[in-house]
């Protein structure tokens, strides 16, 4: 019986595989290939193109080879977008790491009222980015927003936030931290819970202070989680989109919040340069790939695996 079951045939697997296999072909493999083909064309998105279009005719009319790619690399805008994204990462990454380690530590305690904090910290995670971004746009309104109102209580004159070239990106960073801290706090909570408590007990017997325990036990043992969070954060940073679209409709003063996905979307559906947009999406993929590969290489230097 068992034997017959184990050698059960291809035919038995087909009905189970079929739905996802159709999805794989139609909504993953075909789009990936199509995306690459379009990226080598000057297709405008206005001339009708479906999967059933005559490919030869399409190529005769639109084929441009790697022109889009070289145009991207030579454009000033690309470097600005890359700079904006790196600026976002430089501000966002340290702040999100610190704040979510803090939140993870808070959530790890078993005092009364922890249930309340737990529910509360996740509300921004549950909130859609569009709603969250609308809220932040209004909260950061220079004249009528509550943030500058609070700053004024301390005698500080708040900046013009989204209307200022300097402060637009930090404003996006603030909103993103608020949105993500519960999520990454939860990830760190998982890491903290997996640390063996005997380490702390031993350290206490040796008279270690709270800070020493945190510095020499918690941080090293948390480093695999920190590494994971860093990778996810950097990938997410390159894919920044709804907050930028909703908070800064025209990508901020002087393009201060122009980022990759926002550019890709606008080139494709607003400026009718589908080919250019597709090429830019592959450049984005390459950049994410390189950044992730570098991090994977660097991890040996600082990530500590406790076996």
């Amino acid at each position: 019986m068992y034997k017959r079951y184990k050698t059960s045939s291809f035919l038995q697997a087909v009905p189970f595989i079929l739905p996802s296999f159709i999805g794989l072909i139609c909504f993953s493999l075909v789009p990936i290939i199509t995306s690459f083909v379009i990226s080598m064309s000057s297709w405008d998105g206005l001339t009708r193109l479906t999967l059933f279009t005559d490919i030869n005719g399409f190529f005769n009319k639109f084929f441009t080879g790697f022109d889009n790619y070289s145009e991207i690399i030579r454009s000033k805008e690309f470097w600005k977008v890359l700079r904006n994204t790196l600026y976002f990462i430089v501000l966002y990454l340290p702040l999100i790491l610190i704040s979510s380690i803090l939140v993870g530590n808070i959530l790890n305690k078993k005092y009364r009222g922890i249930g309340f904090f737990r529910v509360l910290y996740y509300i921004p995670v549950l909130t859609s980015w569009v709603a969250g971004a609308l809220i932040w746009k209004w909260v950061l309104s220079p004249e009528y927003g509550i943030i500058n109102e609070i700053l004024a209580l301390f005698g500080i004159e708040g900046p013009k936030w989204l209307q200022s070239e300097v402060w637009a990106m930090p404003a996006i960073v603030l909103a993103s931290i608020w949105k993500d801290v519960g999520y990454f706090g939860l990830i760190f909570l998982g890491g903290l819970q997996s640390i063996n408590p005997t380490y702390y007990e031993a350290a206490e017997i040796d008279g270690a202070s709270g800070w020493q325990k945190f510095r020499h036990i918690t941080l090293p043992l948390l480093s695999p989680v920190t590494f994971f969070v860093m990778i996810v954060c950097i990938i997410n940073s390159f894919q920044l989109f709804p907050q930028v679209m909703v908070m800064t409709k025209d990508a901020g003063p002087n393009g201060a919040t122009q980022v990759f996905v926002e550019r890709i979307y606008k080139y494709a559906f607003k400026y009718h340069k589908m080919g250019y947009a597709a090429a830019l999406s592959w450049v984005l993929f390459a950049i994410i790939f390189i950044f992730t590969a570098i991090q994977l290489r660097m991890q040996k230097r600082w990530v500590y695996y406790d076996d």
């Binding site: 059960s8 909504f27 999967l51 005092y111 995670v125 549950l126 609308l134 909260v139 801290v181 993929f285």
Partner: protein
């Protein structure tokens, strides 16, 4: 000098409440401002000094937003999409995971590797051609497109396969002796035994669909088909300064997912912890 144990415990509790409340405060301020603003009249929005508590609270923004074209239907659309796409996603993923974990067939491992490899390509690379695919299938402005897209979700397949591999083959053998066919085994043995992870993935898919922005933005242009995030961003263009309206709409969009969260906290938490949340 050593601090006594009790004293240290007390300090721990104090710092917990101080930091905990501080973070809570920072998280709550924007929501506080959202609720306050939604209760203001349009005139009170732009009063200086800013009114921390509205002098004449009113529910007009809530009344008005339901009269706007596409708002009521967007709530229905968001619900419809969240429910259908999560069902399609977990059902299709569970079927594939069953085949990949419990049915031997030639090429199984290589096919699974192809499935996994597609996870490397970010959604941003394929959304333009996806638009073309959906146009070819005449599915733009059609909510079925979102269901079709969920037929293939390698992350869900991977998670479910991990779970199903831990299910002992003796369950399946027993079912075969009882005369069950593959579908009965899948439906009556495997699915119930994977219910925890199914619920977790379902809840995450629900939330992902409820909050999705980029794909609906590309696919839908008919206001009657809009989802909540889409109508909110459209209203922003139309009623740029009517923040009482926009904040009322935001609050309405948050409430349903908050209610789902209250009932399914456990699954949300495990879902967030296994990672892979989009956007």
């Amino acid at each position: 000098m050593m601090i006594s144990r009790r004293c240290r415990k007390f300090l721990g509790a104090v710092s917990f409440y101080i930091f905990g409340s501080l973070v809570a405060l920072v998280i709550l301020i924007p929501f506080f401002w959202m609720i306050i603003t939604s209760l203001k009249s349009k005139g009170a929005l732009l009063s200086i000094p800013v009114e921390w508590i509205p002098k004449e609270p009113s529910l007009n923004a809530y009344k008005k937003i339901f009269t706007l074209e596409g708002f009521s239907s967007s709530i229905f659309n968001s619900f419809y999409l969240a429910v259908t796409t999560s069902l399609v996603q977990i059902l299709s993923a569970a079927m594939a995971a069953y085949a990949f974990s419990k049915i031997q067939f030639k090429g199984r491992e290589s096919l699974f590797k192809i499935y996994l490899a597609t996870m490397m390509i970010p959604f941003q690379v394929v959304f333009i051609p996806l638009f073309i695919v959906m146009t070819s299938l005449k599915l733009t402005n059609n909510l079925s497109a979102f269901m079709l897209l969920q037929l293939f979700n390698p992350f869900a397949i991977f998670m479910l396969r991990q779970k199903m591999m831990t299910i002992s083959d003796s369950f399946i053998e027993a079912a075969i002796i009882d005369g069950a066919n593959q579908f009965q085994i899948f439906w009556k043995v495997i699915l119930p035994l994977s219910s925890g992870i199914l619920a977790t993935l379902g809840v995450m898919a629900f939330m992902g669909s409820w909050n999705d922005y980029l794909f609906p933005l590309v696919m839908l242009s008919d206001k009657k088909k809009f989802t909540l995030p889409l109508i909110l961003s459209a209203l922003q263009g139309q009623y740029t300064n009517d923040y009482n309206l926009l904040m009322a709409g935001s609050l309405i969009s948050i409430l349903p997912i908050l209610i789902v969260y209250m009932f399914a906290q456990k699954y949300f938490r495990s879902g967030l912890q296994i990672g892979g949340v989009k956007g």
